[in-house]
């Protein structure tokens, strides 16, 4: 390996790296603005000036841009050379000509790259005596605040937004010293990764509008390494709190997962924990009470019952909470599952089981390197950062193929996209499996989109099969895994699970326990149900049955940090700590166990789930082991991963592949011609749906139908239709959309819940004249 001489120190470099990268890699700072590790070199700001003397060239030293000069063996580089210092001073002086110098009132203050560079490089005084150029600002929506006068024209924002995140509603406009970064018109930024502008921008042009509503100086924020609780990707985050309230969430780099960026759900979903309706005091029969009284009430209910007890954990509850609830149920002789939806349970277990068999899912960094992918369903809402990783693969030329029932933003980058109704999905996957198994897909079969997909997967160097579990059945999961096996070891398999700890929840939930639990509650065999972080009553597919069944209960005991339908119906409610207010462990989509730390405490006493369960056990006269040893018993040698580390893959006993006959919902008997599909969007998630900023961007509630099937049924675009499901009906206006499968109506989750239908269930449609 070669070395450059940086101010007298020999610094090794990777071939192809430039001087700036070499220095940064060695933790040596060369001032810079426009260079960004994810966005590369641009050469626009001219701050990274260094003096270089090529080895043995006999040439005089010259000032050059470190971000544009390749590192070469023996190259002498000086950051401290007077000539380089002077260029940097001039660059700062130029950038400061029009800068408003409003640091005292700027949100970026304290973490401003411009501030740092100005202090480091100088000059300390301004010489410019003229007028400053000023810009109007734009309203960019509820999440991002815009102050264009602070811009230093480093082009990072457009390079991130357009080149990296493939958005198209923000860009550079005009020229000279009037280059303007914004939208054509005021309006919310459309890209689901827009929030990263806040971190990408080295100045205070783009700042966090939610943080701004309850602002604190960043040096006053309490922070600790955390894990995003809003999906199964498990992005690493750094939340910041002050005075007992959570103020913001930033990206925290993980070398294999989220390196520089997180999605907007991860950045802004945190508002759930400051929601005005958040339960903060224990409640018994609708009355606030003390923690002690609530424990007493729960214990006496449990002691007095003759019947079986049920414990319902959750895919968004951490490993500790689920395991402790399971341990309590074991002690009490009750049954435990983490799933309220039996279909989701079998699909999730099938997915984890196939990952255990085939090998682990690729990291985000690996996904960026694939050259072909088959994507089942929508990833933008179910695993936003996997979507962003696939955008990087696409930029490098990867072919993306889609089978999907309802619109998914990623499909705009598809090489082949086929809409398939939920009920046909399994058949179509089997067809693809047969094509690939026939080995000769490309030749003797007519050139259909499906053979294109087969050919592209078979021809790929590294391919990925990935599906969103929430909209898949266990049969589809097992077909996809068969497909992965058929394609061989160059094919990776991954699933976007529903819930930050869905993988962990599956490891703790015996197959079939969800349906067993539901049936036991329906039959009155279970009369006490403890629910931790789950919302069976708010479920779209099974909510109707759960709501009916729960009338049989003598006590519904709920532990949660958000006011779900189930929490509202609770006889005994234990408010628990939100994710930033406690430590714990999540297992992400790869099977990676990652620890998160307590960032801060609220003034109220808010224990975590494991604590409540331990205390409840004590009130019942049982003594549970602490969570680490409970987990150590379940997963041999399991060590709780330390927050702030990269985490490690969990070793767990193999899960059996569930029998493919899926649980029946009452809907499937209905013989209507229309099927429902979940129309997802990236803000739609249990916790994030309590975040007002994100929710302000909720798409309009409409019924999306594919034009041909709509016209065949005599339905006009914009007309009103009435949809009916097991638990109700709703009138919606029709929006034609090519990205909806034939015979399918794509509707938002809240509509599904209200109608009482799940993704793939039949639906009755009636035209409203």
């Amino acid at each position: 390996m070669g070395k450059i001489m940086l101010d007298g120190h020999a610094i090794p470099f990777k071939l192809g790296d430039n001087i700036l990268q070499t220095a940064l890699e060695a933790n040596l700072e060369i001032p810079h603005f426009c260079y960004h590790a994810a966005l590369g070199s641009l050469g626009a700001c001219r701050l990274c000036a260094v003096e270089i003397t090529p080895k043995d060239s006999g040439k005089a030293p010259r000032v050059a841009m470190a971000c544009l000069e390749p590192s070469e063996d023996g190259l002498k580089v000086s950051v401290s050379a007077i000539a380089a210092q002077q260029v940097r001073q001039h660059v700062i002086e130029f950038l400061m000509i029009n800068h408003p110098h409003d640091c005292p009132i700027c949100d970026e203050g304290g973490e401003c790259h411009l501030q740092d560079m100005t202090v480091v490089c100088g000059p300390p005084y301004r010489r410019y005596r003229g007028r400053k150029r000023t810009f109007p600002n734009q309203d960019l929506g509820p999440l991002i605040h815009h102050e264009m006068n602070r811009c230093i024209t480093c082009y990072r924002c457009t390079r991130f937004y357009q080149d990296y995140a493939l958005g198209n509603d923000l860009g550079a406009m005009r020229l000279r010293n009037e280059v303007y970064f914004g939208r054509f018109q005021d309006g919310p930024l459309e890209n689901p990764f827009a929030g990263n502008l806040v971190e990408v921008c080295p100045t205070g042009v783009f700042t966090d509008a939610i943080f701004r509503q309850h602002f604190a100086r960043v040096w006053d924020l309490k922070t600790a390494p955390s894990i995003c609780p809003h999906c199964s990707v498990g992005c690493n985050t750094l939340p910041g709190a002050r005075d007992g309230t959570l103020r913001r969430v930033r990206n925290r780099a993980h070398p294999e997962l989220n390196r520089w960026f997180i999605c907007d759900r991860g950045r802004y979903g945190h508002q759930y924990s400051e929601h005005s309706a958040r339960p903060l005091a224990p409640r018994v029969s609708g009355t606030d009470t003390s923690y002690h009284d609530a424990l007493n009430a729960a214990a006496s209910q449990i002691k007095s019952t003759q019947d079986c007890i049920g414990g319902l954990g959750s895919t968004r509850e951490d490993l500790e909470g689920n395991a402790m609830l399971q341990a309590l149920l074991n002690n009490l002789g009750g049954i435990f599952t983490a799933f309220s939806d039996p279909k989701l349970e079998t699909a999730t277990i099938a997915a984890v089981s196939s990952l255990q068999n085939i090998g682990n899912a690729p990291s985000l960094a690996e996904i960026e390197q694939i050259d072909a992918a088959l994507i089942i369903g929508d990833l933008t809402a179910h695993a936003p950062m996997i979507d962003l990783a696939l955008r990087q693969a696409y930029r490098k030329g990867a072919k993306l193929a889609f089978l999907y029932s309802s619109p998914t933003p990623l499909a705009q980058f598809a090489t082949t996209a086929i809409t398939v109704s939920p009920q046909e999905m399994c058949t179509e996957l089997s067809r693809l499996y047969q094509l690939i198994n026939a080995q000769s897909a490309a030749e003797d079969i007519t050139d259909t989109p499906m053979t294109d997909i087969a050919a592209s997967l078979m021809g790929a160097r590294k391919s990925l099969l990935i599906g969103a579990i929430e909209t898949m059945t266990s049969q589809e999961v097992s077909t996809l895994s068969k497909l992965a096996t058929a394609l061989g070891s160059d094919t990776k398999l991954a699933y976007a699970f529903s819930g930050a700890n869905a993988y962990g929840a599956a490891l703790l939930s015996p197959t079939g326990s969800a349906v067993a639990m539901l049936e036991a509650v329906e039959a009155g065999q279970i009369r006490i149900l403890i629910v931790a972080g789950n919302d069976p009553l708010g479920d779209s597919r099974f909510g109707t049955r759960w709501r009916a069944a729960c009338r049989n209960l003598s006590a519904l005991i709920v532990l949660d940090c958000i006011l779900t339908a189930t929490a509202k119906a609770a006889d005994i409610l234990f408010p628990v700590a939100a994710w930033t207010e406690r430590g714990g462990t999540f297992i992400n989509y790869e099977g990676r166990a990652q620890g998160f730390a307590t960032v801060f405490h609220r003034p109220e006493y808010l224990p975590n789930v494991a604590r409540v369960i331990t205390d409840l056990a004590q009130y019942l006269g049982h003594s549970l082991q602490a969570a680490p040893s409970v987990l150590g018993d379940i997963f041999s040698d399991f060590q709780i991963p330390k927050p702030g580390t990269t985490g490690s893959l969990i070793t767990a006993p193999s899960l059996p592949m569930p029998a493919t006959a899926s649980a029946h919902s009452i809907q499937e008997s209905c013989n209507s011609t229309w099927q429902a599909a979940l129309a997802s969007w990236y803000g739609d998630e249990a916790l994030a749906s309590f975040a007002p900023g994100l929710m302000a961007l909720t798409p309009k509630t409409v019924a999306m139908i594919e034009p041909t099937s709509a016209i065949d049924a005599g339905i006009k675009n914009g007309s009103k239709i009435k949809l009916r499901g097991s638990s109700g009906s709703m009138v919606l206006s029709v929006r034609f959309n090519q990205d909806v499968a034939t015979g399918t109506i794509a509707i938002a989750r809240n509509v599904l819940v209200q109608l009482g239908v799940g993704h793939g269930d039949s639906l009755e449609l009636e035209q409203v004249l």
Binding site: G43, A44, R46, Q86, F94, Y128, R133, T153, R176, E178
Partner: protein, 426 residues
């Protein structure tokens, strides 16, 4: 010398295809197609044809360096963006006779084996651009463009691209971005556009005047071409003369003709009672020369030796009733306005210089402003991203030297002596 490049040009009634062919037009295709492309490049090299777009890079060398084995598709761009203040030669070529341009592009593209050529036309030359499009159609219909031109096996498609209209679009790589439909910011030149140009493919850019010479070189030979010049210059050159002269205009003369002949013979000299204060030899982005330079041959190397650039060969004349500070300020306003906004020294430095010059010119300059201008110019010229900024500060840097006393006078007296003189005269 008899006009060569402008012989058959008529901006009022440009020749159509038939008329152009009657003057011998498109004859060079026969010569070209008889030769191997490398041979043509060799001849152009021997003719010492240097780029007329401003930098004077040897055309044949540029073509050879692109390499015969450059991967297809290969592109040729004919630069007709001409936005340099004081320059109006390409305009004359465009309006005077579009077929000459097309013929030049065909033989040049053949030499480069480029299958697609773009003519990037300055936005304000829209009328000329339309005529050019018509001429391209005529040539297509006549089989002079398209596939297997005249049985040569050579294919060529030409497209005229009308600029959105910015000075920076004349810069080679900014122009490539513009043609691709992107923001016309210049690109980093590693890798070079000759290998990674338009859509990442090998691309050669030449000024239209450069290309216009190629058919004549092919028809008459390299030696003949070299001998067209005088005082060591090679070939025929289009010179523009404007400013404080009696008859500003375009003159086709041997390359190497001294400025004295251009200004005092062809442009009719200065007004009576006026003396020459100085002149820009090659357009707005070149350094001022003084009366003592009048006999320097207007050719690339001699002008460079005198401390300026031949640039586009466009002389702008200042007489002794013109305030050089005011003229320089005017130029700096232009350049500050035309900066593409990509890099800091140019984008924010030029308006800074303009602001300082404005204060000097209006009489509120400070003694240390002149040193400040020099200091800032040094960084702007050497540390900007593209060649725009070094060109932009050139007239200022030289004006500070050439007309130092004028600046001193403005700063010390707090007023512009020329303003006073004008007022008194009025």
């Amino acid at each position: 010398m008899e006009a060569l490049l402008t012989r058959h040009l008529d901006p009022v009634a440009p020749l159509n295809l038939v008329a152009y062919q009657a003057t011998g037009g498109y004859r060079s295709l026969t010569s070209a197609f008889d030769l191997k492309p490398e041979k043509i490049i060799g001849i152009v090299e021997a003719a010492n044809l240097r780029g007329r777009g401003g930098a004077g890079f040897p055309c044949g060398l540029k073509w050879r360096l692109r390499g015969a084995d450059a991967p297809s598709p290969r592109y040729l761009i004919c630069n007709l963006d001409e936005s340099e203040p004081g320059t109006f030669k390409d305009r004359y070529l465009l309006y005077g006779g579009p077929h000459q341009i097309i013929e030049s592009i065909i033989v040049s593209a053949f030499a480069l084996q480029a299958e697609r050529a773009f003519i990037f036309v300055r936005g304000e030359y829209a009328k000329g651009g339309n005529a050019l499009n018509q001429a391209i159609q005529e040539a297509e219909t006549a089989g002079l463009l398209g596939t297997n031109i005249r049985g040569s096996g050579f294919n060529l498609q030409i497209e005229a691209h009308l600029s959105g209209g910015r000075y920076i679009c004349g810069e080679e790589t900014a122009q490539i971005n513009a043609i691709e439909g992107k923001r016309p910011n210049p690109r980093h030149k590693i890798p070079r556009p000759s290998t990674h140009g338009l859509w990442g493919q090998p691309t050669t850019t030449n000024n239209v005047e450069t290309l216009i010479n190629v058919p004549h070189i092919l028809l008459n030979g390299a030696d003949w071409f070299r001998e067209l010049g005088v005082n060591g210059g090679c070939g025929s050159k289009l010179f523009c003369v404007s400013g404080k002269v009696k008859h500003s205009g375009l003159f086709e003369l041997p390359c190497g003709t001294p400025a004295r002949e251009l200004i005092f013979e062809h442009a009719g000299g200065l007004d009576e009672n006026r003396a020459l204060l100085g002149f820009l030899p090659g357009g707005a982005s070149t350094a001022f020369l003084l009366p003592k330079h009048l006999d320097v041959p207007m050719d690339f190397d001699p002008i460079a030796k005198a401390g300026s650039r031949l640039g586009t060969g466009s002389i702008i004349v200042l007489d002794d009733a013109t305030c050089p500070v005011e003229v320089t300020l005017n130029l700096m306003r232009f350049f500050a306005r035309e900066s593409c906004g990509f890099c800091t020294p140019c984008r924010d430095g030029l308006p800074y210089l303009t602001q300082i010059l404005t204060t000097i010119s209006s009489g509120s300059g400070r003694a240390d402003d002149l040193a400040l201008l020099d200091e800032l110019c040094a960084t702007i010229a050497s540390q900007s991203f593209c060649a725009f900024a070094p060109g932009a500060v050139m007239p200022l840097v030289s004006s500070l030297k050439c007309f130092h006393d004028h600046y001193e006078h403005h700063v010390t007296t707090g007023r512009c002596p020329f303003n006073e003189a004008n007022k008194n005269g009025a």
